[in-house]
């Protein structure tokens, strides 16, 4: 684990623990003695920040620093997650990593090959067994579901194996989320046609 990640985790854990301890302490103190912190004390503190330029500067810079630390930390974590979402293999010249999103792009392109499929939403995972693909499919109503799903599984599997050059197991799960009727399809087509039939000066008549 990188030193910055450790520092980031320690920093955030400390800040959150301190906030938690502070809130618990306040709750305990308030339940026993309500005169410990008066509203006037808070007003005085705010007044101090209001009048003193240096304290305002320190306050602003602390805020800025906190934002920068948060961004860097988020970037570290996101980068780590992104790095994990790859399929990797080694060549003599060095490692090759293929982002799973690239494989998803590839699968999305298969929609063009099968006209029965209206939409394809893939989710690719690299597991110890091999590559696992979940496909959420929107079909057109005229499609024969068992036939189209088995064809889709075959095509997806062979495409992944061809393009990635992997020979391990590729598991394709298909989930049909919607079947679009032909009427819906026609409605979408008819709308622009209606607009085309409007003629210029169509409302004018002879007197």
């Amino acid at each position: 684990m990188r030193i910055f990640t450790v520092l980031g985790i320690v920093f955030y854990a400390t800040v959150l623990i301190l906030i938690g301890i502070g809130l618990i302490t306040l709750a305990i103190i308030f339940s026993f003695d309500t005169t410990v912190i008066q509203p006037a004390d808070l007003a005085n503190s705010l007044n101090y920040f209001h009048t003193s330029l240096s304290s305002r500067l320190i306050l602003g810079l602390s805020g800025l620093l906190l934002i920068l630390i948060s961004f860097s930390f988020a970037q570290l974590i996101l980068g780590r997650f992104q790095r994990e979402k790859t399929i990797a293999f080694n060549t003599p010249s060095g490692p090759v990593m293929v982002a799973l999103t690239a494989v998803e792009d590839l699968i999305r392109r298969l929609t063009n090959l099968l006209p029965e499929i209206k939409e394809l939403r893939p989710d690719v995972r690299a597991t110890k067994k091999g590559i696992e693909v979940d496909l959420r499919v929107v079909l057109r109503s005229e499609a024969n579901i068992p036939e189209i799903t088995s064809r889709l599984q075959e095509i997806t599997k062979s495409k992944i194996q061809d393009v990635l050059g992997v020979e391990g197991e590729v598991l394709i799960n298909i989930h049909i989320v919607k079947i679009v009727t032909t009427e819906e399809k026609d409605k979408n087509k008819k709308t622009p046609d209606k607009e085309e039939t409007v003629l210029p000066f169509g409302g004018y008549t002879r007197v």
């Binding site: 961004f71 999103t101 392109r109």
Partner: protein, 106 residues
């Protein structure tokens, strides 16, 4: 002593990578490229590291064209980049790592 800036190595690698048929472009979005993301412009991002023994490590993000075999393209890019860098800089190239970020969307 001649020192070659990392940007020069990065440029040579970028050009050599794009010479290979099947490479759509060199990927973008470096880690920490906040400005690029905010303004919506991203720049090619090739990581170059040179260790104490003057050995060079290069990481190239790529977007591949649809229909090409990824391992084949990656191997060709590695070979072409290695040749170009060795020819032009005389540096000792240790590792050329390829990171396929995406497939070109049609």
């Amino acid at each position: 002593m001649i020192k070659i800036h990392n940007n020069v190595i990065s440029s040579i690698a970028s050009i050599a990578a794009q010479e290979i048929e099947g490479v759509h472009k060199v990927g973008s979005n470096c880690k920490g490229d906040y400005l690029g993301r905010i303004i919506g412009r991203t720049f090619p991002c090739i990581k170059v590291e040179i260790d104490k023994n003057e050995e060079v490590f290069v990481e190239i993000p790529l977007v591949i064209k649809y229909g090409f075999n990824i391992p084949e393209i990656a191997a060709k890019v590695q070979e072409n980049v290695r040749q170009a860098l060795e020819k032009m800089t005389n540096l000792n190239i240790k590792d050329i790592s390829i990171n396929v970020q995406g497939i070109e969307r049609g």
